[in-house]
């Protein structure tokens, strides 16, 4: 019978990746004398080696063996834990990861790094004079049936020590196993058996003479008894006579007679146990097991609680359905009330079910954050800057797909922060800052989005340098007036980099525009805040669920828009007295204690509109990023759930719009991006203000001239 273990390969691979992550994070935290940690690192490597051996992933086994040996010395105290060794081990973890990835993806892996690292490992191990044993010769896992073609007769004398059974071994079962090699006949000798009263039930007093007819080798026979070799006397002799019963009997009989028991208990002759012939030589280890990983579209681990909640909700849905169905039989107008409440119930069920299903795809962002401790550690080493990484909000959940795609952009931002943000230790000290720089990654939910902040306490962004670079590139001209936010936005222009030399980490200037593009393609945005000397914050906003939104339909001029319900604070008909005009054309509305700026959407979007004043419009007060504004609309329409469609597929990201949807009548409606609109309005207002302020001197001049003349 051949046992097929290839089904266990995916779980072995998954387990190995987890083990490698554990090794990595433990190595980063490792300090001298920390026994438990070094042991857990050793065990992780040991498990991977063991598993790899089972499936015949020899390259993994060989490499891991070196790692394991080094770890073994460290945990045994034979070797002190040195920083260099830790770095080497971290590199080794990378190599192991490459190897396992290449198995999972069924691709060739880059062996140069692996070769380099194994050379280093061997060198390190050799410096303590410990010769590394060859991992493969230790474990010869194939059943090598040394089939000689000729059947031989073996005489085996088995004399166990009295306490043999106390090891858990049973001679009879050993003979069972021996019978796998061939035909066995045996004779027991009870010579040593004491009187009944003196017998100790936990001891053996018998000895045996066995005859084995087999083509197996002496080593094979010895192997059967290997566990008890120290607790017995084993004499094996071979007879070259082939399969002739008579001669073997003749030889055994003299043995019998000399050991005739003194108390005439008959000899016990046991028949040869009938066992199957041993299995054919195992070839499972020599074939490379096929990995199913390639066809896997990726899987997701879902907590049982989420699944249970789903099951409950579906149950409720079924109940509602049957209730409605029953109502449908003999329906008359008197049942309208019940129908309405049934439909209400259906709406509720569907909503909850939908939320629950969405949550299945949600994973904590820690999966994406996990790579950063190592990254910052490596970068800090490479740049020679001391940087501390703080992670916050790791349990914040987001959609799996979003998380997979946000990884690379985040890496780029963190690299930037270390490379360009954090200053060198000298500069920091000179400026009264702590020598160690801090980078904080923070994730939290806000409204219907997830916000990820990358904050550093470095030198901040040099506005002028950015502006000058943009000038150089022709993106702006000398007269262009930009707000801080707009200046920083220039960083996302393609080919933009203010790094004076292209550092190999991130100065190449290909990064930021791709980062922005990636984020936008997920329906998100990125903003920059920075203060010279204090630091910078990159804030990434991403939608929580990519697909569905509760929206309020509004009419603005000829257009219908959708405002995400989650952003709406309230909708109202403005009262004339509460409207205030401030500094030119900014309109504020008094909402209780707040002065809420009013945004004329038609103006922002350049829509021809009939009523252009606020008195005749409706105000939808929305909130985003802590800021409240009032959107001026003509009419409030229905509230409904909409499926979000991206404009990015065939078009591009549009400012002020987070996506589009298809309404019940088949037409397309734009979904407003409230934070985007606020930015737009702000930018517009600032621009108007600046333009106005540059205007004024001229006007006063001409007036005064006019007056004087």
């Amino acid at each position: 019978m051949s046992v097929d273990l290839s089904q266990f390969i995916p779980s072995f691979l998954e387990e190995s990746f987890e083990g490698l992550e554990l090794m990595e994070s433990s190595l980063l935290d490792l300090e001298q004398g920390d026994d438990e940690t070094i042991n857990s690192i050793f065990r992780a490597a040991h498990s991977i080696k063991g598993g790899a051996g089972t499936f015949g992933f020899n390259n993994v086994t060989e490499f891991t063996h070196l790692v394991e040996t080094l770890l073994d010395e460290m945990r045994d105290g034979r070797r002190n834990i040195k920083q260099d060794d830790i770095e080497l081990l971290l590199d080794s973890v990378d190599c192991m990861r490459l190897l396992i990835e290449s198995i999972r993806d069924e691709t060739e892996c880059d062996t140069s790094k692996i070769f380099e690292t194994s050379v280093l490992l061997e060198k390190t191990l050799a410096t303590d004079g410990i010769k590394v044993s060859d991992p493969l010769t230790i474990n010869d896992s194939e059943i090598v049936e040394s089939k000689t073609d000729d059947l031989s007769t073996w005489q085996i004398k088995f004399i166990p020590e009295h306490h043999l059974v106390q090891t858990g071994n049973d001679p009879l079962l050993l003979f069972n196993a021996l019978a796998d090699l061939g035909e066995v006949t045996l004779v027991a000798c009870a010579k040593e058996l004491p009187a009944l009263n003196d017998i100790d039930a936990e001891e053996i007093y018998l000895t045996w003479n066995l005859t084995l007819e087999s083509s197996a080798s002496e080593d094979d026979i010895k192997e059967v008894f290997e566990w008890v070799e120290d607790e017995c006397e084993l004499i094996i002799t071979k007879e070259d006579i082939i399969s002739s019963d008579l001669p073997s009997l003749e030889i055994s009989s003299p043995v019998l007679s000399t050991e005739t028991p003194s108390f005439e208990e008959p000899d016990v002759i046991l028949p040869a146990p009938t066992n199957e012939k041993p299995v054919e030589t195992s070839t499972t280890n020599s074939d490379k097991p096929s990995s199913k990983a390639k066809n896997d579209l990726g899987s997701i681990r879902v907590g049982v609680d989420k699944v249970d909640s789903l099951i409950n909700l579906v149950g409720e849905l079924v109940i509602t359905q049957s209730m409605l169905s029953e109502l449908g039989n003999d329906f008359d107008l008197s049942k309208v009330e019940r129908l309405n409440s049934g439909l209400e119930q259906l709406l509720q069920n569907t909503k909850e079910l939908q939320e629950s299903v969405m949550r299945i795809r949600m994973l904590p962002i820690s999966f994406a954050f996990n790579r950063f401790p190592r990254l910052v550690h490596d970068l800090s080493k490479k740049t020679g800057k001391e940087v501390e990484l703080i992670l916050k909000g790791e349990q914040t959940e987001l959609d799996k797909t979003v998380m997979e795609q946000i990884g690379d952009p985040l890496v780029h931002l963190v690299r930037n922060a270390v490379d360009h943000g954090i200053e060198s230790a000298e500069i920091r000290l000179a400026n009264g800052k702590p020598q160690k720089g801090t980078i904080m990654l923070n994730a939290y939910h806000q409204g219907g989005s997830i916000v990820i902040e990358i904050k550093d306490d470095g030198g901040g962004i040099d506005r002028e340098a950015v502006f000058n670079k943009a000038l150089e590139k022709g993106i702006v001209d000398e007269n262009t007036v930009l707000t801080d936010a707009q200046t920083f936005d220039l960083l996302f222009e393609p080919g933009f980099s203010t790094a004076k030399e292209v550092s190999d980490i991130s100065g190449r200037g290909v990064g930021m525009d791709v980062v922005k593009k990636n984020i936008q393609s997920l329906g998100g945005r990125i903003q920059v805040e920075s203060e010279r000397g204090k630091g910078s914050t990159f804030r990434v906003n991403l939608p929580l669920t990519l697909a569905i939104l509760d929206g309020q339909l509004v009419q603005v001029g000829t257009e219908t828009y959708i405002i995400p319900l989650i952003t709406i604070v309230e909708s109202l008909q403005p009262q004339k007295e509460l409207i205030n005009r401030v500094s030119g054309d900014m309109v504020l509305y008094r909402l209780r204690e707040d002065n809420v700026p009013v945004i004329p959407v038609y103006q922002l979007f350049n829509i021809p509109c009939e009523f252009e004043n606020i008195e005749n419009s409706l105000l939808v007060v929305v909130e985003a990023d802590g800021q409240k504004v009032g959107l001026m609309v003509d009419d409030l329409l229905a509230q409904q759930q909409v499926v979000i469609k991206s404009l990015n597929d065939n078009y591009q990201q549009v400012e002020g719009v987070s996506g589009a949807t298809i309404l019940g009548d088949g037409s397309v409606a734009m979904i407003l991006d409230v934070p985007g609109i606020i930015s737009m309005a702000l930018a517009q207002a600032q621009l108007n203000q600046k333009n106005r302020s540059t205007f004024q001197p001229k006007i006063t001049q001409s007036i005064s001239e006019g007056v004087s003349s």
């Binding site: 000829t558 979007f605 829509i607 065939n650 078009y651 589009a660 298809i662 397309v668 737009m680 621009l687």
Partner: protein
């Protein structure tokens, strides 16, 4: 072939099926259309659909020639008015105005965009050697959109580069 007659036969409502057209195996096939009086053509393999003009939903702050987006079987498709984009003739919307929906794959992306034209005419079969290079000077259509010219009877048909048409220029805001 009387172009005018053909144009009048184009149905006003619904979709226009390309089935029943004999595909000749040699050379390339192009769909020809009119922008004002001028004839243009695009590779027929990129033509996804031909639709009658319907009012699209405006895209805020988009260039004039981008009329908006429509819903095509659940897909949001932007509509570009070629007459406005290339400044040819007048952009009027009447019974013969059609939208040619093109889908083009590039290494980075696959895009579906609809182009408003004055009328659709023939399917042309052109051998590669019949295509002449486009003129370098003059003309309202920028060079990068032109793949070449082909003579059809007395007329000249300008073959447009579909990939260039698919490039969406970045939104300029404020």
């Amino acid at each position: 072939m009387d172009i005018q007659m053909l144009a009048e036969e184009v149905p006003v409502e619904g979709e226009y099926s390309l089935e029943g057209i004999d595909f000749i195996t040699s050379g390339e096939q192009y769909l020809t259309f009119l922008l004002a009086e001028e004839q243009y053509a695009v590779d027929i393999l990129c033509v996804e659909e031909i639709r009658s003009w319907e009012n699209p939903t405006r895209i805020p702050n988009s260039p004039q020639y981008i009329k908006g987006v429509i819903n095509m079987r659940g897909i949001i498709v932007p509509i570009v008015d070629l007459r406005m984009k290339f400044n040819i003739g007048e952009a009027v919307y009447c019974e013969t105005t059609v939208v040619i929906v093109l889908t083009v794959e590039t290494e980075e992306k696959t895009r579906t965009i609809g182009f408003v034209v004055d009328a659709v005419s023939d399917v042309l079969n052109v051998e590669t050697n019949e295509i002449k290079p486009a003129p370098v000077f003059g003309g309202c259509v920028p060079q990068n959109y032109l793949d070449g010219l082909v003579n059809v009877g007395e007329n000249v048909v300008t073959i447009l580069n579909v990939k260039a048409l698919q490039v969406v220029e970045k939104h300029q805001v404020s």
